[in-house]
């Protein structure tokens, strides 16, 4: 534990070398946000002729160590123990902090997932250093090997560059869905090491009494999103949204009031207090485009607005505008897409269907709370 103590400047900053990345995993597989750390970590490490060191924890780590190496880590260290099967703050934070003392990395990257953020600030405090949160741009200045960490703040309106010049390691969490997953190479060369971890009993007191996997996939990595707003007028309007989504392999998004009314689950909410998304295509149906909604989707590559109000705020950030009743537009749009698709299918009959997201039964939506 840290105790009430200040951040300390190490005297031997030049001893800190290499880029370390924490590869978050579940059930013996590195998760996508973890793999994304490898591409950005490797490019920084190699820019200054250093190594990328991947760290992974699990019940057994053999296959994950191989995965990490083949995806591009120069060195991989895996810690295994039945106690590391699930993410728990204290055992994970302790092992990683001890590794920092042992390996003295110049930079440590952690995915800015919920568990990643849970971990990162504890490690920063224990290592008496700084951490830049939720970065979307990361680079290294070869002069002094300083991490240039940039992060959106104030509702995605400003990009702040944050430095940690005189403390080590320089830590950052990186936003999922921003950095690419590197190519996997079966013939990659890497050093690897699996270590048995011994976890103190006192760190295992926090019990995970239940885990319910979610059937919905998170919107942050979605390529297509069709979103519904109050303009739908009723819960069943989301059926129409789902229909269009199914047609193009999209996920369903929503504005907050539709979630508050119980028309759709909270997992679908886009915006300041929902998810921040940046898909290739965002189709907003009956959404006015209030600031808190725009914050969560304005970085989308292409925005299409379907709205009866020609002056709806969302139109000012839209690439395409269909100024009409969504109940008229959506069936026609779905029909036009079906027609186009069948033309395509005739052209090349053996093309594979696109991966479709897990569907959720919208009508069965009810928030469940455990008994108090």
């Amino acid at each position: 534990m840290a105790g009430l103590i200040n951040a300390e400047k190490p005297s031997n900053i030049d001893d800190y070398k290499n880029v370390m990345v924490f590869l978050e995993a579940r059930d013996g597989k590195i998760k996508k946000p973890g793999l994304e750390m490898i591409s950005v970590g490797a490019s920084m490490a190699h820019k200054v002729n250093e190594m990328l060191i991947g760290i992974t924890f699990g019940e057994s780590v053999g296959s994950m160590v191989k995965e990490a190496g083949e995806y591009g880590c120069d060195r991989v260290i895996g810690y295994e123990s039945p106690d590391l099967k699930d993410f728990r703050t204290l055992p994970y934070a302790t092992l990683l902090s001890d590794l920092i003392l042992e390996l003295k990395p110049n930079i440590l990257l952690i995915p800015a997932t919920r568990n990643g953020r849970d971990l990162a600030s504890r490690i920063a405090v224990r290592s008496r250093t700084g951490v830049t949160a939720d970065c979307t741009e990361l680079d290294i200045d070869p002069n002094g090997r300083i991490l240039q960490a940039r992060r959106p703040t104030y509702g995605e309106s400003t990009l702040a560059e944050i430095l940690c010049k005189s403390h080590r390691p320089q830590m950052a969490t990186a936003r999922p869905g921003i950095f690419p997953v590197p190519e996997r190479k079966k013939d990659a060369k890497y050093e690897s090491e699996a270590r048995k971890a011994k976890i103190k009993k006192e760190f295992m007191k926090k019990e995970i009494v239940d885990f319910k996997p979610k059937t919905t996939v998170d919107l942050t990595s979605a390529k297509y999103i069709v979103s519904g707003g109050l303009g739908l007028g009723k819960a069943s309007g989301f059926k129409l949204i789902q229909e269009l989504a199914d047609e193009i392999g999209a996920y369903v998004g929503a504005s907050r009031p539709t979630v508050d009314l119980g028309w759709i689950g909270k997992d679908h909410q886009v915006g300041q207090t929902g998810q921040s998304v940046r898909p290739k295509v965002y189709i907003a149906c009956g959404i006015s485009g209030k600031a808190q909604h725009l914050m969560g989707m304005k970085l989308s590559e292409n925005i299409i607005s379907i709205n009866t109000d020609p002056d709806a705020e969302i139109n000012s950030i839209s690439d395409y505008i269909i100024n009409a009743d969504l109940y008229e537009v959506l069936p026609k749009l779905v029909e036009a897409i079906r027609k186009k698709k069948s033309e395509f299918e005739m052209q090349s009959s053996n093309k594979k269907a696109e991966e479709k997201p897990v569907k959720e039964n919208i009508e069965e939506k009810k928030e469940k709370k455990p008994p108090q």
Partner: protein, 266 residues
Amino acid sequence: MGLEIIVMIKQVPDSSEVVIDPVTFTLNRGAARNVINPADENAIEQALLIKDKNPGTNITVITMGPPFAETALLDCMSRGVDRAILVTDRAFAGADTYPTGLTLAATITKIGKFDIIYAGEESTDSSTGHVGPGVAEFLGIEQASYTSNSWAEDGYVFAERQLEDGVETIKMEPPCLITVLTNANMPREATLRKKIDAMKKGIETWTLANIDLQPDWVGLKGSPTVVKSMRTINEKKREGKKFNVDEMDKFVDELVEKGILTFGVD
């Protein structure tokens, strides 16, 4: 059985009112009203829900901030919080998350006994979400972050964590720290009676001298990170091309031509 609960709150500029100056690209926070960070309202409500179920519970709310943060604290008391402490000192200015956590942890240590510390999931202005777990680390206690619900039962604290891939239910021994999601609950309104009580009771004001930290451990001096620069994110220019409802075939043709819709080819 009553519990001792501490809630940490931050006063933030109302996010719907913050504007970026189009000429200087600086943030015009002055124009914005100050409000309780939205997630902290949910943290307060969560604490009050526990108090409702566990008579004898005491809730103390703390904030590190400028003197005008008093308003936010009085607001919390008007909703049913028992005690409020404003920790304010020029020395705290410019703190990054490290000294912010340290200052709050030192304040909590001075307060003494506690079972649960509540914080918001993150602030709406700099939104790191790092202060809560940082405080837990300084104090050496367990934590549960990103929770939608939590309750006390048989001497344990339970919390439901909303993760990207599922919902996890945690069982911990107090003392522990819990961060609360925005929308975890519906924050209650202040009542007139409690408002009057709050004005009568008032808040306590502490400074650096009250919490036994050295001046160069806090604020800007105690911060390992610096904000080097800020720039507005250049927004893409959007054409806003219009199609009417009878032109859907034409519209889809254009989307396909431009590679916007691909039907599984990429």
